[in-house]
């Protein structure tokens, strides 16, 4: 994976890829991302032409369609500035998925170059900027779901480390953390039985530790889990990690 070949951060300036889910449903996650990055003195550019990372078609096997979207993304996020994404899954699409589907394409080098400057948000903050503790205050017992696309990346440890450092936060570990939540993009609609059964098992483990909120670096897992929990009549409060961080700043009077 190209996330192991990244260049050190030299300048506090990023291009934000908000992701299609934040564009459509979770605007507050994208807003929190901007506020948290700016709190760290990072200048945030938002290329208006951005759409989607290309992952749905990539996972669905339609690589012709996916490559069109990746090429659009390549054009939209041109230059050398790091691209930061508040989603482990979309980030992994750029540093792992896209290079795979471009293996035999003439513009592979450009795709790889984009992959090398793409960061998942928490990974960027902790391993890119070297920020390892988070100021402010947040009262709560948090269950932290490690999303699958952050396997083999710095995101999982970074999320637990930063959240765990916030005054007032208790991180509550739960059983079978390595198991997938069952979302899986189009898997959630083409395998609805298995997808929801996986989600219910995950929710059982989470509810068992009685958290105040379920937190992750991937809002897509949380969209699936919260939707499932609500359908089951036992809602679970979900937050993206960056929302907790933004709220901690607010509670501490730092924002």
């Amino acid at each position: 994976m190209l996330n192991h070949e990244r260049l050190p951060i030299t300048e506090r300036r990023v291009q934000l890829m908000a992701t299609c889910l934040c564009d459509a449903f979770y605007d507050d996650v994208a807003k929190a991302t901007v506020e948290v990055l700016e709190h760290l003195g990072v200048s945030v550019e938002f290329p208006e032409g951005q759409t989607c990372c290309g992952q749905p078609a990539f996972n669905g096997g339609d690589w012709v369609a996916s490559r069109k979207v990746v090429r659009h993304t390549l054009k939209t996020f041109s230059g050398n500035v790091p691209v930061v994404v508040p989603s482990g899954s979309c980030a992994a699409m750029l540093f792992h998925g896209a290079p795979l589907e471009f293996e035999k394409e003439s513009d592979l080098a450009a795709v790889e170059a984009l992959g090398r400057r793409t960061w998942e948000l928490l990974d960027y903050i902790v391993n890119g900027l070297g920020v390892t503790t988070w100021p402010g205050r947040y009262e709560g017992r948090l269950a932290v779901h490690r999303s699958c696309h952050s396997r083999g990346t710095g995101t999982g440890d970074a999320t637990v480390r930063l959240l765990g450092s916030i005054a007032g936060v208790t991180v509550a570990p739960f059983g079978e953390g390595e198991q997938c939540c069952g979302f899986g993009g189009t898997f959630s609609v083409s395998f609805p039985t298995i997808s929801s059964a996986m989600g219910s098992l995950k929710l059982d483990h989470i509810r068992a530790v009685q958290p105040d909120a379920l937190v992750s670096a991937d809002i897509s897992c949380l969209m699936h889990l919260s939707g499932l929990a609500e359908k089951e009549g036992k809602p679970v409060k979900v937050l993206h990690a960056v929302q907790v961080m933004r709220d901690a700043l607010r509670n501490g009077g730092l924002l």
Partner: protein
């Protein structure tokens, strides 16, 4: 909306079968993890090294296969080559006919499941008895294995007791020890009556021509001790370069497969009975089976040939745990099967092209694989192959991506759609005829549509000088 076949299978699966599969695979995974991480400081490094050894082998098979043939022959072993499953079975039959043999006892081997050897021999009037307890139960039940290492993971002991009673192996008793004793008593006679013992091989070492077999029941030893002729049916990818590679591979295989440091029996077989090796069968044959493997080798999914059949990827796989092994409609289930089975199917690839879809791409399989096979990447490559070849099985339930790709490459269309999606907040979504949306809503609620909200917030912020912004 059509859903995927494996999902439909999971929906129909009996709850007690699901419970057996789930608890068996979960326990297997937990044992594997604790044994591996208790004993080694960095098991992931070992997985990487083992993967490199096996990758080296499959990329140099053209050198290793002749080398191993020469070594086996100099050890007194007769070597046969079978391009297809049929050829492999015919080779077994020819060896038996030449000896006038009528009865075979066999140990567990996955490649003989591929060739359906037992059925083939029975049709030829040859008795072929499975001696691995799980495989024996499968055989008397006329069932199929649902796991590579634990073939009867889908059965509970009550079902087994019922089937023993039905087949004259004693009155109903579901005590596992009683079941085992009865099978043992039955099988002891079969060993003594048999003419030929058939096994697989977990590894064949090129340097020494050594065949290595791992078992926990000792049944393969009985197969060899009681018969005069040993036939080993082996996939061509089972080679290891050096004897010393066994130190790493055996330790990883047992830990990954059954959570043991080593299996109860590890047999090293260097040839038939000889002056320096006074015990064992007087005749020994190795049948190397291709059966589609060279096609896999020629494909961009060749990494799957590293597989050492430990079953760790099945145990950890959340989809396998929900659907069970039979859902995969092939010899190899689970993540490894989702890659290997469609590839081995050759021209029938499109019929099994839905198997690579049976994954949330969570990557747990890659994380536990003792030879570090990048299974999710291979699943993705096969999804593309399924799409290209127009497989209907693969397409079921996958939303079409054409319109999405058009919107996602045109920012104006995208922004319009973000705004237009607000209709979902007004119109009850059950009236919106999008199959993917309906499938989502059957199991989950959908959050409120807030398309475009972030973009206008960002614009306002930029106009107040809060943030830099770049226009397209």
């Amino acid at each position: 909306m059509k859903f995927q076949q494996i999902d439909q299978y999971a929906a129909r699966l009996r709850p007690d079968t699901r419970a057996s599969v789930h608890s068996g695979s979960k326990a297997g995974h937990e044992k594997r993890t604790s044994v591996l991480f208790d004993h080694y400081i960095d098991p992931n490094r070992l997985r990487g090294i083992a993967g490199e050894i096996k990758q080296h082998v499959i990329e140099n098979l053209d050198t290793y296969l002749p080398a191993v043939e020469a070594k086996l022959q100099s050890n007194g072993v007769q070597v046969h080559w079978a391009a297809t499953a049929e050829a492999a079975n015919e080779a077994v039959l020819a060896i038996m006919r030449a000896r006038g043999a009528k009865r075979m006892v066999k140990a567990k081997t996955m490649v003989s499941e591929e060739t359906e050897l037992a059925h083939f021999l029975e049709k030829q009037g040859i008795e072929c008895v499975e001696t691995d307890l799980g495989e024996f139960i499968i055989q008397i039940d006329g069932d199929h294995p649902s796991h590579i290492v634990k073939p009867i993971i889908h059965k509970n002991r009550r079902e087994i007791a019922t089937s023993f009673e039905k087949h004259g192996l004693g009155a109903y008793n579901d005590d596992p020890e009683t079941i085992t004793r009865r099978a043992r008593a039955h099988l002891r006679h079969k060993y003594l009556e048999a003419d030929v013992g058939l096994t697989g091989a977990n590894f064949v070492v090129a340097e020494s021509g050594r065949l290595v077999l791992v078992t926990n029941e000792g049944n393969s030893r009985f197969c060899l001790a009681a018969t005069k002729c040993h036939i080993a049916m082996v996939g061509i990818e089972k080679i290891l370069p050096l004897d010393r590679d066994l130190g790493l591979l055996l330790n990883l295989l047992a830990r990954s497969g059954t959570g043991q440091q080593l299996t109860v029996y590890t047999e090293f077989i260097t040839g038939p009975k000889s002056a320096t090796q006074p015990d064992g069968p007087e005749e020994m044959h190795v049948i190397f089976v291709d059966n589609g493997r060279t096609d896999v080798l020629a494909s961009d999914c060749r990494d799957i040939l590293r597989c050492i059949r430990c079953g760790a990827c099945l145990n950890v796989c959340p989809v396998y745990r929900q659907a069970g092994g039979h859902a995969y409609r092939s010899v190899y289930p689970g993540p490894v099967g989702a890659v290997l089975s469609p590839l081995l199917a050759g021209k029938k690839f499109p019929e099994l092209a839905d198997l690579p879809k049976a994954s949330s791409l969570c990557g747990a399989c890659n994380e536990v694989c003792p030879v570090n096979i990048p299974i999710p990447d291979l699943l993705l490559r096969l999804r593309e192959k399924g799409k290209k070849e127009g497989s209907e099985a693969a397409a079921a339930g996958t939303p079409p991506m054409g319109a999405w790709a058009v919107m996602a490459t045109q920012p104006m269309a995208w922004k319009t759609a973000l705004f237009g999606g607000k209709i979902m907040n007004i119109l009850p979504t059950k009236y919106i005829p999008v199959p993917a949306l309906q499938a989502w809503q059957a199991k989950r609620t959908l959050p409120a549509w807030r398309g475009g909200e972030f973009r206008s917030w960002m614009r306002d912020r930029a106009s107040r000088g809060g943030s830099a912004k770049r226009e397209e």
